[in-house]
Amino acid sequence: MHKPLRKRSLYVFLCFGIIYLRLGALSSVVALGANIICNKIPGLAPRQRAICQSRPDAIIVVGEGAQMGINECQYQFRYGRWNCSALGERTVFGQELRVGHREAAFTYAITAAGVAHAITAACSQGNLSQCGCDREKQGYYNQEEGWKWGGCSADIKYGIEFSRRFVDAREIKKTPRRLMNLHNNEAGRKVLEERMKLECKCHGVSGSCTTKTCWTTLPKFREIGYVLKDKYNEAVHVEVVRASRLRQPTHLKVKQTQGYRKPMETDLVYIERSPNYCEEDAATGSVGTQGRLCNRTSPHTDGCDLMCCGRGYNTHQYTKVWQCNCKFQWCCFVKCNTCSERTEVFTCK
């Protein structure tokens, strides 16, 4: 009488146990687990997806970093024919540039730098669980020069390592493009690392700075944007050397008639020449300049003759209306006047 009952109750418990275990795979509080969201994020390589699933807090920071990179790209190129606008579907890392030209080099470099910057900043804030202040920069005291490490130095090594692991995981296929992308990613990160700032606080009133406490901080991202823009202007045209047995691309060399020189680590490299971006062309990834705003009087690339590629421009006159002379009235509201002005705006045909 007891034995069959015991057996049955054992099975029942086993059954419940299995069901409970399978149900227990759900997260307890939240509606959507990290797994399912990470699976749906577009544009992630398998290893990136794995990192997303194991560190969802880091992926938020990565997204912000990539967005910062894209914003900086759009700021730096706002007056050019190619203005870093998104093409088609938005992904984590912006548009997918199929052709390996200068603009692609800049985009890859700035997003890698953006991710490293954001991760380092999040570490210093204490937002990420596995990193914090730079441990190496604590405690050392230099007697002759009178400074010592103190405070919280930004842990740039962690940020760069994370960016390397995450952003470089996108490059899977062994193609020339892969080498170019990896080089540009690393160039962006190197530029960030070189530009880390040393800040010091003097102890003591009036003038002399005999003892200082110093720490390293991140530069402003705008500065990185300017530096990378300069490097974009001086980007190096490279070609791929296939040196392995299977004739697969192994490294890059500068495209010159003779000689053999490797590009510098902080140079941006590209393997194909850029189109002129005047007309829309899906093969090269150009959006064209139809409809772009241009400045009639400017002699630079945002002038209407250069921007519109000689097609001419449309003038659109309108009355600009805005709030002006705003004053605060006691107690609780602000009263503004409305000013208006007749202006014209030019768009390319």
């Binding site: 759900l26 939240v30 967005q67 210093s124 204490g126 606080k201 102890h203 009133v205």
Partner: protein
């Protein structure tokens, strides 16, 4: 026909194993070297990623490469895994990209089954790879139920692709196409794709508010409320909000942020980066809300921008002196003594004055400052002061100014470090360059901004530093400061060595112990295993948590304390007092603590007490008669009579007759069978738990050899630690090295009314000696009481003739020491005890922590709980016959601690039992002759003049 069959085979192969195609070895294409068109097409096979293009290419391939190219087709046949021989291919090939290490990836691509990779790829580190392989294997078994060329199989494969989780449409498609084929496949697939209902998606409704478009917000809420499975919610959100999830978008960030990651392998306790808890303590002292907010900003978020703003707005603001003094306490605490300076030599040899920063760097800094100022302008942070050539105009005064600004002498009572206003006006009037002054700049106006204080209690007089120290240039060894300058490496705390060492030859006067920083960005260190009170990061001002300093060098195990409402005021005699202020009512000292007025419980005589009252006044609580019949109360303290004990609130069953130290707490065998009971007398300040007077010690196998705390047993032998003494089975006589003077038992009476068998016993209990012989009487507790039975007792001579002694309350005889009477908060002590696993807070423990704040080895801390339940702390010189300098040093230490308590400085208040101190009163004993040397020429001159007059007097008389 054959071509058709081959094409279809290719198509199926592509469908089944689209990913592994990327890994195809392109060397097959060299078979097609003759035909360049064929070769190009073959090369393209490797670069194509999308399935549809691959399909198209394969359809066209036979037109480029005719079937007669047998080697080529055979090569492609064999390298496309699993084309004809299904068993050769391996489902896991598509997962190889997930491998983290490069060797594993290579191994995976060349493997043909899961067993091949187990050697190189460890299951623990390659989680994603193995889960993908399992998934693919499940997929191949499930889909094998369908026939090979059916759409059913196609859709089945689609579900098991590595990348995404199956959508509802895919699941429905499988159901539709496979219903007729096999029920087994359906059940197998549904096992895999079963979408479990989510528990409470409503908890994440707040994430919907973060979406940018309103229609997205609305539909998000609707979806979370109505749908129940993960797939449905995801599909719904993607459809309604128009795009795939992106981690830049706030709504998805919110969802990701609340998603718990699977438990990481090593969990590191999150430490607050950029935090400085010591400075956070100070922020509540700000007077303006602007400076309070900026103070909180710099304490929680380290950055130079905030420092600059804070410097500009708050550092030199005279309203915020309390805040600034507190912050400078944390950065550079006031320390006794200054020596070995090469430039500011007038500051040398001042062992009894307090300085914040007496070190080589400040010395150099002063020299550099003088050089800079010789250019003609003094650059202050917010103004420039033009001056004449300082090398010619009062150079000594300028040197004193520069040195004071760098070395920062501290006033012992107020701890302020500003120069006096009159000195400032003086020097600027004489040496300021009037011609280059700005509009309206006068020396008075400038000094109003720089040093507005003229109170001799709060500012530093410069004339003291115009001449070298009166102690002369001899190296003073009576008073030493082993921890100033700090000889320890960083992250180590310097403590005065009071335990002695076992190796007498190499004994240093200091010890370097590892410490913890209060926050990553802090410089303030506390000892290991100490308990620290820090303000909580979020939360109102009065909320703290108690953490302990762990061996990792960080604060851990934090427990929150109940919050204290610091905004509540106390109403006293019609006046409002804010939290933290102290005041006197009659003869009591009182303090306001979160709306409660806590006062001492002394007996007072006021103006309108009658004569009869005055005659009968004894000063003891409840006016008890001053008989001496000691009782031992449950808090471990001996009261002089049952009347006093009852008056202090002890019920009859809570005290026993006889002194506490003469009772035997082990009489009732309170310990277990295998433990020894050892008496351990202590007086408890908290009453939330029992005050046990014994300790149960088990038979330990080993003692900690590293901790050195010498203990002397009753046989006169010294043991390296108390543990080893107990292991040897001896009885403890007293802690510390065995002294010859304590060899024979000679009873002495301590200030706390207990009789000790030797002087050393009293000292190891941190109690100073009142008189020799057993305790016989209770002394005056208040100042106005008449002489009691103490008059019969012979008091020992004062240790230094000429000192003004103090008589501690309840003691009979005066002593040359400085005394602090500290009022403390019982509720807080009880809270601390509860947070510390109900271990009581003892007087001995508090005194040990206070000892760490005395930086001079020649002074030591003694104390006891007075009859009025105030904590009396004596800072007395250690030597039997102390010199006047040592007594002065001890009074300065006492003044320093007194001001730290009264101003609630974080250096003191961070340590846990000490934060319950409310206020303290000090009485110092100084030498009757004046401290500083009076200028010797003066009396000599007077003498001379007097002599002259006396000599001339007879002459005068004649006139």
């Amino acid at each position: 026909m054959r071509v058709c069959f081959q094409i279809i085979t290719f198509l199926l192969a592509v469908n089944f194993y689209c990913q592994p195609l990327r890994a195809q070895d392109p060397s097959c294409c060299h078979h097609a070297a003759e035909s360049s068109r064929c070769k190009d097409a073959c090369d393209q096979l490797t670069t194509i990623k999308s399935e549809s293009r691959l399909k198209h290419l394969l359809q066209r391939l036979p037109s480029y490469c005719p079937e007669s190219m047998n080697e080529l087709w055979m090569c492609i046949n064999s390298t496309l895994p699993g084309v004809s021989r299904k068993s050769d291919g391996w489902v896991g090939l598509g997962c190889c990209e997930l491998a983290i290490s490069a060797e594993c990836r290579r191994e995976c691509k060349q493997a043909s089954s899961k067993n091949d990779i187990t050697k190189v790829c460890k299951k623990i580190t390659e989680n994603s790879l193995y889960s993908c392989i399992t998934k693919n294997e499940m997929g191949s078994t499930c889909c094998s139920y369908a026939g090979r060329h059916t759409t059913c199989r196609e859709y089945c494969q689609a579900i098991f692709r590595t990348d995404s989780t199956p959508t509802v449409s895919q699941i429905n498609a499988v159901k539709e196409y496979c219903q007729s084929h096999s029920a087994q496949l359906l059940s197998c697939v549904s096992n895999f794709t079963k979408s479990y209902p989510i528990r409470s998606p409503i908890d994440s409704l707040y994430c919907c508010d973060r979406a940018e478009a309103t229609h997205c917000q609305v539909s998000c809420r609707r979806i979370l409320r109505t749908m129940s499975t993960e797939h449905e919610i995801m599909d719904g959100l993607i459809n309604e909000c128009g795009s795939q999830p992106l981690p830049q978008e706030p709504m998805w960030q919110c969802f990701l942020g609340s998603a718990h990651p699977p438990s990481p392998t090593e969990e590191e306790t999150p430490h607050p980066a950029k935090m400085d808890c010591a400075k956070l303590h100070c922020c509540s002292k700000a007077n303006t809300s602007l400076c309070r907010d900026m103070c909180q900003e710099i304490s929680t978020n380290w950055g130079s921008q905030t420092w600059q703003d804070f410097d500009q707005l708050c550092e030199y603001n005279p309203v915020e002196t309390e805040l600034i003094n507190c912050l400078s306490d944390v950065r550079e605490p006031c320390q006794l003594g200054c020596k070995d300076l090469t430039y500011c030599t007038n500051f040398n040899n001042r062992p009894t004055e307090l300085f914040r920063s007496c070190n080589v760097q400040s010395d150099q800094g002063a020299m550099n400052d003088i050089k800079l100022w010789s250019n003609g302008t003094i650059k202050m942070p917010f103004m420039n002061i033009p001056v004449l050539d300082i090398r010619k105009c009062l150079p000594d005064m300028w040197k004193a100014v520069a040195c004071s600004l760098q070395i920062k002498p501290c006033h012992s009572k107020s701890r302020g470090s500003v120069i006096c206003k009159s000195d400032c006006v003086d020097i600027l009037t004489q040496c300021g360059d009037r011609k280059r002054f700005h509009e309206g700049q006068t020396p008075e106006r400038i000094c109003e901004l720089l040093s507005p204080i003229d109170d001799p209690e709060r500012c530093i007089p410069l004339h003291r530093y115009l001449t070298p120290s009166s102690l002369g240039n001899n190296i003073v060894e009576e008073v030493i400061h082993p921890c100033n300058p700090n000889p320890c490496p960083s992250n180590h705390l310097c403590q005065v060595n009071r335990k002695g060492c076992l190796d007498e030859l190499n004994c240093q006067p200091y010890l370097c112990v590892p410490g913890c920083k209060l926050g990553e960005a802090s410089e303030f260190l506390v000892q290991q295993d100490s308990r620290i009170q820090v303000p909580t990061r979020m939360g109102p001002a009065g909320c703290f948590e108690v953490c302990s300093c762990g061996p990792s060098g960080r604060l851990e195990n934090c427990a929150e304390m109940p919050c204290v409402d610091t905004t509540k005021h106390c109403v006293v005699g019609g006046q409002r007092k804010s939290h933290g202020t102290s005041f006197r009512i009659d003869c009591h000292t009182c303090s306001c603590f979160a709306g409660d007025t806590i006062c001492s419980t002394r007996e007072c005589l006021n103006f309108d007490s009658s004569d009869k009252d005055r005659r009968h006044f004894t000063g003891l609580p409840c006016n008890c008669p001053d008989r001496f019949v000691p009782v031992c109360a449950s808090n471990g303290r001996t009261y002089p009579s049952a009347c006093v004990a009852r008056c202090k609130g002890f019920k009859d069953q809570q005290f026993l007759f006889g002194q506490c130290r003469l009772s035997n707490p082990c009489a009732y065998k309170p310990c277990q069978r295998n433990q020894r009971c050892i008496p351990k007398y202590s007086v408890c300040l908290s009453d939330s738990s029992d005050c046990l007077q014994y300790e149960c010690v088990g038979r330990q196998l080993s003692c900690d050899k590293n901790s050195v705390e010498p203990a002397c047993d009753t046989d006169g032998m010294v043991h390296p630690s108390l543990c080893q003494l107990q292991q040897a089975g001896k009885t403890l006589a007293y802690m510390g090295h065995c002294q010859d003077t304590c060899g024979k038992p000679q009873q002495v009476c301590g200030h706390n009314g207990e009789t000790y068998s030797t002087v050393c016993d009293a000292f190891s209990d941190r109690v100073a000696v009142d008189y020799n012989g057993p305790c016989q009487a209770v002394g005056a507790v208040s100042d106005v009481a008449p002489d009691s039975a103490c008059s019969l007792i012979p008091c020992p001579r004062l240790s230094t003739p000429g000192c003004q002694p103090v008589t501690p309350p309840g003691a009979c005889c005066p002593i040359c020491a400085s005394m602090l009477q500290i009022l403390w908060n019982k509720e807080q002590m009880n809270t601390f005890s509860k947070l510390n696993k109900n271990r009581p807070v003892t007087v001995h423990g508090v005194l040990q922590i206070l000892r760490l704040h005395v930086s001079v080895p020649q002074c030591d801390v003694f104390g006891y709980l007075s009859i009025d339940h105030e904590l009396v702390v004596l800072i007395a010189p250690v030597d039997q016959q102390p010199t006047p300098l040592q007594i002065e040093a001890c009074s300065k230490e006492a003044e320093k601690i007194d001001s730290l308590i009264n101003y609630a400085s974080p250096t003191l208040v961070s340590h846990v039992p000490l934060s319950a101190f409310l206020t303290s009163e000090i009485k110092t004993s100084s030498i009757r002759s004046s401290g500083g040397a009076p200028p010797s020429p003066l009396p000599l001159g007077l003498c001379f003049l007097l002599g002259l007059v006396v000599a001339a007097a007879p002459g005068l008389q004649q006139l």
